[in-house]
């Protein structure tokens, strides 16, 4: 038993942090939210170059093999910097398409290299006519239909999300049938793990920004971070995040459905608790779209529902159908 990231994994996280810290991601997020994808695509390319989109892709197709621990490491950082785009969906698509050699050969190299983004309808487990994230930006659009997985020729009109950076698009359930019995369960596991890691990163960023704010904001002549009501609320956020973290990495190690569901539940709840505390402790400035905190605040809410809302995750933990 050795439950610690190894040196390579820690270095990978540092390298990604350095890359993203230098990328002015708030500006990229705001461009993306307006449907201006150029800066987001450029950032996507650099993230792909660092190897992130090859972490669910076998080596023969340009990936690093399936590496869930490294994937979790990477998605914590994507969350920490609020990176926009269908990153979770690209991972899920790589798992779905990786099941068949012809599809893998056709699609996985471009997903791993970052030259294409993929999306997939989020309700695929129920084979519904669901919405897909960023279908207007993705080149590979996978629609879940009653017949199986289809390569959708286009995306419908964008619908707005509570998180302006998440552009929701319906995918028409038509197009080339690329899998009668796709690996839904496996893809869901990967999507859920990536979302959990992303939510943890979002929560960590919210906590960091809020700690910095309450140290410099003064009222009644002292920093508000010296008030016990403020200190204890942030301590509780730290506790929630620190106990979600081992669930996320533990799930990446075991990839058992119950562990992954537990990680998704806890990381999203901790991320959301961080968002609520961040908004409250920033006060009115935190409630504005203009202030960058909003980029993380809104994402924390959206991620809670994506790829397994809390009740769905609890059902899996309890081993119920």
């Amino acid at each position: 038993m050795r439950f610690l990231l190894d040196t390579g994994q820690r270095d990978f996280a540092s390298a990604l942090r350095a890359l993203l810290a230098a990328a002015d991601t708030p500006r990229v997020v705001r461009d993306w939210s307006r449907g201006e994808h150029a800066s987001g695509r450029a950032l996507w390319g650099r993230i792909a170059e660092a190897g992130v989109f090859g972490l669910a892709v076998p080596e023969e197709y340009g990936g690093a093999g399936r590496r869930p621990v490294e994937l979790a490491v990477a998605f914590v950082e994507l969350g920490r910097y609020a990176v926009p785009g269908p990153s979770v969906e690209t991972v899920a698509a790589a798992v779905l398409l990786g099941e068949r050699a012809d599809l893998a050969k056709r699609f996985l190299p471009e997903l791993a290299s970052g030259s294409a983004m993929a999306t997939v309808t989020m309700s695929f487990a129920r084979h519904g006519y669901g919405l897909a994230l960023d279908g207007d930006a993705a080149q590979v659009r996978l629609a879940a239909t009653p017949e199986g997985l289809r390569l959708s020729p286009g995306a419908g009109a964008v619908r707005r999300s509570l998180d302006p950076a998440r552009r929701l698009t319906p995918l028409p359930p038509v197009g080339e049938l690329v899998g009668a019995e796709p690996a839904w369960a496996e893809a869901l596991l990967w999507a859920r793990l990536a979302t959990a890691a992303q939510a943890l990163g979002v929560g960590l960023a919210l906590l960091d920004r809020t700690v910095a704010y309450v140290k410099q904001r003064t009222q009644f002549g002292v920093p508000i971070g010296s008030f016990q009501a403020v200190r204890h609320r942030l301590a509780d956020v730290r506790i929630a995040l620190e106990f979600a973290r081992p669930l996320v990495f533990g799930a990446a190690v075991t990839m058992s459905p119950a562990d992954v569901a537990a990680a998704k539940l806890s990381a999203c709840e901790a991320g959301y608790a961080a968002a609520r505390a961040a908004l409250q402790l920033h006060g009115a400035i935190g409630y504005t779209a203009e202030y960058d905190l909003s980029l993380w605040l809104t994402k924390a809410r959206a991620l809670r529902g994506a790829w397994g809302a809390p009740e769905e995750c609890r059902r899996v933990v309890l081993g119920r159908p």
């Binding site: 050795r2 610690l4 990495f249 533990g250 190690v253 059902r315 309890l318």
Partner: protein, 383 residues
């Protein structure tokens, strides 16, 4: 040694697990012992410690010469998982084993370890803690009980309170003010061990919520303590005690095995009750939090084995397990419905015990202050 992340145990550790499981299967009493907060239960739990010790299972992590097995941290965690999964009794020697023993390992003399540890391992001597005083609770450094120099030792005078296990225990350890004229309250304190049956000691049991004498007040009037029962240098007691507090809040006070077993029992209870939808969320959350606590502890143990000191992050741990313990028992009592209020069941007994968790071993408010100051770097404020 490979440094890859790995949650599986080595074959040798699994062998150790199997050995522990086999022993526990053969020895754990079929029915729960009477509550350890009663005279009868205390004696039964003491006898259980002797049974454990006879086969070296009472203090597995200690060196062999004191009655242990030299088991590392990972094997201790494995043992604890098996211990609580087997439904084995609560540990009457917990105060001594998890608070005093680590202090003796770090700050005691070899003579003290050789004298104190073996009878602690067998339950022959059960220890109580003597920290709090009527005017010194969370603000422990405000303590006023005195230790006054005398020939060959010290005379203790004052009052201690909320002394867990003291109603039936044999000896106690705590802090005393040996120099009243220091510039700060954290100086001039001495860490001492004393006999609860020595002349000058009066023990007045205090009934906890359910009336059981789980703790006591101690009145000390010129109680003689020989020099050999001072731990570390006189006057250095605060530093020594805080290293104990670090241990207490850290890995060794409440093992994950305890909560994993409790969550398993909660899950079974829920299933026996027909898996009501209304309780599903509470049960799932308890299962998830027990798993989180296990994995958090595995990560902390791994860092520790890498040579990292466990610091203020042990405050995260204390708040988490104490709230988890309560949530587990509250969920169970809710599931039991009207039957939940009946005293004496394992769930109601566990609930009364869990209620004290957020208060003892440093209140959760004190822990949150530590997290805010030392982990988040927030400015100090009024408590």
């Amino acid at each position: 040694m490979t440094e890859a992340v790995d949650l599986t145990h080595t074959p040798a550790d699994e062998e150790f697990r199997a050995e522990a499981r086999a022993w526990l299967t053969a020895h754990v009493p079929p029915r729960p012992l009477p509550s350890l907060e009663t005279a009868e239960g205390f004696a039964a739990h003491r006898a259980w410690e002797a049974e454990l010790a006879a086969d070296r299972w009472s203090v597995v992590s200690w060196p062999e010469r004191y009655g242990g097995r030299d088991a590392g941290l990972v094997r201790w965690l494995v043992f604890e998982e098996e211990y609580y999964a087997a439904g084995a009794p609560g540990r009457v020697g917990q105060n001594g084993v998890s608070l005093l023993a680590p202090t003796l390992f770090d700050h005691g003399t070899e003579e003290q370890r050789a004298r104190v540890l073996p009878p602690m391992a067998t339950g022959e001597v059960v220890w109580a803690q003597a920290w709090s005083e009527p005017e010194a609770g969370s603000d422990l450094a405000a303590l006023r009980s005195r230790a006054v120099r005398t020939a060959g030792g010290w005379l203790l005078t004052g009052q201690k309170t909320w002394s867990s296990r003291a109603a039936f225990a044999d000896r106690a350890f705590g802090l005393f003010r040996s120099d009243p004229d220091t510039p700060g309250p954290h100086q001039g304190l001495t860490y001492l061990m004393f006999d609860l049956r020595a002349p000058g000691v009066t023990v007045r049991p205090i009934g906890r919520l359910d009336g059981k004498p789980a703790f006591a007040e101690l009145f000390l009037d010129q109680v003689f303590v020989p020099d050999e029962d001072v731990i570390g240098e006189p006057g250095q007691g605060w530093r020594i005690a805080m290293s104990t507090a670090g241990n207490e809040r850290g890995l060794t006070l409440r093992s994950p095995g305890r909560f994993l077993a409790c969550a398993d029992r909660l899950l079974s209870l829920w299933q026996e009750q027909g898996a009501p939808e209304s309780a599903a969320a509470g049960v799932a959350d308890a299962v998830v939090r027990a798993r989180a606590y296990q994995l958090f502890t595995y990560a902390a143990a791994s860092r520790h084995l890498d040579g990292e000191a466990l610091g203020p992050e042990s405050s995260l741990n204390k708040v988490f397990w104490s709230e988890l313990d309560l949530a587990l028992h509250e969920t169970a009592l809710d599931l039991l419905g009207p039957a939940g209020e009946e005293a004496g069941s394992p769930w109601s007994e566990g609930y009364v015990f869990a209620l004290a968790g957020p208060v003892y071993a440093g209140t959760n408010e004190i822990q949150r202050d530590i997290i805010a100051e030392r982990l988040l770097g927030l400015p100090k404020g009024r408590r």
